[in-house]
């Protein structure tokens, strides 16, 4: 009975806690000082995808810190940021979004969901809440059509462009598009919204170029892929493209090595080409390739600045925090886009904290030139880009990187997508979405 009483009082306590929580969340917003630009951070440092989520989160954190420490903020406006743990789970993602969207003096600057699932959740909410979404190289491909998806940006490339660039790459390697005919290409994909994205594009291209496409789905989490690789072994495809994520990548690379598949014909997409994906397979993974839209490693001035300003010169500490890893570098790019969008918008609205609506304008008028990249210490790290009202993807070129057992390095030139196929598909999908949701596309 004593225990029972204890429980009763616990229940009572938790109710009081709930009330306090309610009160708390109503008043927290006022606590921020004025000259601050708030960046919400939806991260996943725990759960099944934590190994990918940790470098991602660290990259964002370090770049924002760098801007504050080195430049004193964006034109004097300090960056504030808050992490919220999503576990890569869409429901928690929405919770985090709701929690953070009104924080800071002007609300959330922009949201980087870093999960295709969460992006899908937020796409309809963005125009209503007036929070722009930057789903950099993930999320809904159709959002590349800025006329329908005013608030969503997915530059510098989409899954569809990527898949078509992969096909172009294969054509290059095989000595011309004509040689694609009769080739066998397998797509090993994560059986989720994300993994399926490339299928349609590949199917269209298979028809166009006459290669034989096999789709091999791998269920979450992808710990056990023996049957997939047995199928590969029987099929003996000339090329394999993979859209994997999390543990699936590591196992796939390992299994491919175990069946002695030629690793230089195995190309992951840019979410299947991080350090954590290849290291567990040891020497077996040498030669494995993946697409990318930025460099790996720490060979750029921006990394030196991070070591200097964020870690006080402590390179070991920076390494511990994933500096130079593929996913870390990706979020450096991602964070830079956000910061530059704010800077662009400040050009129009003044050097003060900006609202989501103003930042959206900044994103849509973002123009990162080669010169600007040099100023940012990222020359050669990535391709310049220019966003337009109509094109939220900006070209969609990718580059192939290869793992040599120790590090990733570029092994091709920039490969443009097969736009004449992909762009109409994007516009068609966007139009369908507009129709289903009673959206009138902007004209531009």
């Amino acid at each position: 009975m004593k225990l029972r009483n204890l429980t009763l009082s616990l229940v009572g306590l938790s109710l009081v806690g709930a009330a306090a929580g309610a009160a708390g969340s109503l008043v927290t917003t006022a606590a921020f000082a004025q000259a601050e630009q708030f960046f919400p951070m939806l991260v996943y440092r725990t759960g099944p995808y934590a190994p990918s989520g940790i470098p991602v989160a660290n990259g964002f954190r370090d770049y924002y810190t760098l801007i504050n420490e080195r430049d004193g903020g964006i034109n004097g406006v300090k960056i504030t940021f808050e992490e919220c743990e999503t576990k890569y789970n869409t429901k928690l993602g929405v919770e985090c979004y709701e929690k953070l969207k009104n924080k800071g003096p002007t609300g959330a600057t922009l949201v980087n969901p870093f999960s295709t699932g969460i992006t899908y959740q937020l796409i309809p909410k963005a125009p209503v809440d007036e929070v722009p979404i930057l789903s950099m190289g993930y999320g809904r491909t159709a959002a590349a059509d800025g006329r329908v998806f005013e608030w969503i940006f997915n530059f510098p490339a989409t899954y569809w462009s990527q898949a078509s660039a992969f096909v172009r790459y294969v054509a290059q390697q095989e000595g011309g598009e004509a040689n694609l005919k009769g080739k066998k290409i397998a797509h090993v994909y994560h059986n989720s919204a994300y993994g399926k994205e490339a299928n349609a594009t590949l199917e269209v291209l298979a028809k166009k170029y006459g290669f034989e496409l096999t789709l091999l789905a791998v269920d979450h989490p992808g710990q056990e892929q023996k049957s997939t690789w047995l199928q590969v072994r029987r099929l003996k495809p000339d090329w394999i493209f993979m859209s994997g994520w999390g543990v699936m990548n590591q196992v796939a690379v390992k299994e491919a090595a175990a069946i002695n598949y030629p690793m230089d014909h195995f190309v992951g997409n840019w979410w299947s080409g991080s350090d954590a994906d290849v290291i567990p397979a040891g020497d077996g993974s040498i030669g494995y390739k993946s697409t990318a839209f930025h460099g790996a490693g720490t060979g750029w001035p921006v990394h030196q600045d991070i070591i200097k300003y964020v870690y006080g010169g402590d390179e070991a500490k920076a390494k511990e925090n994933n500096i130079g890893e593929v996913l870390y570098n990706r979020t450096i790019v991602n964070a830079m886009f956000g910061v530059e969008a704010v800077r662009t918008a400040q050009g129009k609205f003044g050097n003060k904290p900006l609202t989501g609506k103003q930042v959206r304008w900044g994103l849509e008028n973002l123009n990162i030139t080669k010169a600007r990249l040099k100023e940012l210490g990222m020359e050669g790290f990535m391709k310049p880009l220019k966003v337009t009202c109509r094109d939220h993807e900006t070209g969609g070129s990718v580059i192939i990187q290869q793992w040599d057992g120790k590090k990733w390095s570029f092994s091709s030139d920039w490969i443009p997508p097969i736009s004449e196929v992909v762009r109409p598909m994007i516009e068609e999908a966007a139009a369908a979405y507009a129709k289903e949701n009673n959206i009138t596309p902007r004209s531009c």
Binding site: T7, V11, S14, G17, V43, Y120, P124, E436, N437, N438
Partner: protein
Amino acid sequence: MIYREAGQFKTTYTADQAVFPIVQDRWFIAAVAFLALGVPFVANEYWLQVVLIPFLLFSLAAIGLNLLTGYTGQLSLGTGGFMAVGGYMTYKITTAFPDLNILVVFAAAGLISAGAGLVFGLPSLRIKGFYLAVATLASQFFLGWLFNRVGWFYNYSSSGTITAPPREILGIMVTGPEATAEVRYYVALAIVTVMAVAAKNLVRGRIGRSWMAIRDMDVAAEIIGIRPFRTKLLAFSISSFYCGVAGAMLVFLWLGSAETEAFDIVVSFDVLFMIIIGGLGSILGSFLGAAFIVLVPVLLTNAPQLFGLTMAIDLQKHIEVVLFGSLIIFFLIVEPNGLARLWQITKEKLRLWPFPY
């Protein structure tokens, strides 16, 4: 002295069989109703979206599972699958017939999910206990695969994600991005209230008695004339109907869009938790359990900030997970019959209060 039934006499069986036979209970319910209706005026969008709407829809799913597991004794881990049926069928029907009232669509999707429940309930004739529980996982995995695989269910969109299109009732937007959290909350509240009352009616009548008879002793139940197979299947289909509607609400009134991952096995476990923490065989318990499972993580997430603590986000999440697990074990140890039982004990004490005997 506050909670007493002295002086209240019941003169008809109808009065005796009312859901709330005691006057004070009715006052209590009136207060709850008042609070439920008034809450959007004080809560901000975060609370509506993160706590109240999921609380309502998970209460409904918990009622559904409670009918099956708590009342009929058939342990099921397929809740997520049946919710997926509701969610995907609502999408399919409303995009095929955009003019159909969305509530009608919810009901239709519920019926389809009742059909799925019926099919996956068939093995329950032979299989019992944990074997049945694991067998229901077959439905969970199969349905998840089906909605991921077959393009027809998501209108062949490239990613397989379904998005709630805008639909209105009486000129008010209730689904889609334009629908305000308040409106979605009220719609959810209305659905859950009606269905909870219906569930209460079911369990206090013939159907409920035959369910409980099957649960308590299926052999004896059959000998007094209850057809075990029909009774179990009815429980499976009604339960799935509830879960189906809850799944529809999950997509249309809460998340706005979903892929099959939103209905994965974690959902099934969560709902099972709700009915066990809340109380097996109790409609009220379904609400209490849902409140616990929805609210506790939110409280734990916000607790460090409330007390002004700053800690690394991953550490915080880990501690949260540990606390959540410990709380569950703690509750099971202290009151294995659930929160509803605690509530009942409180009431019984209040009845006697201030005299302990």
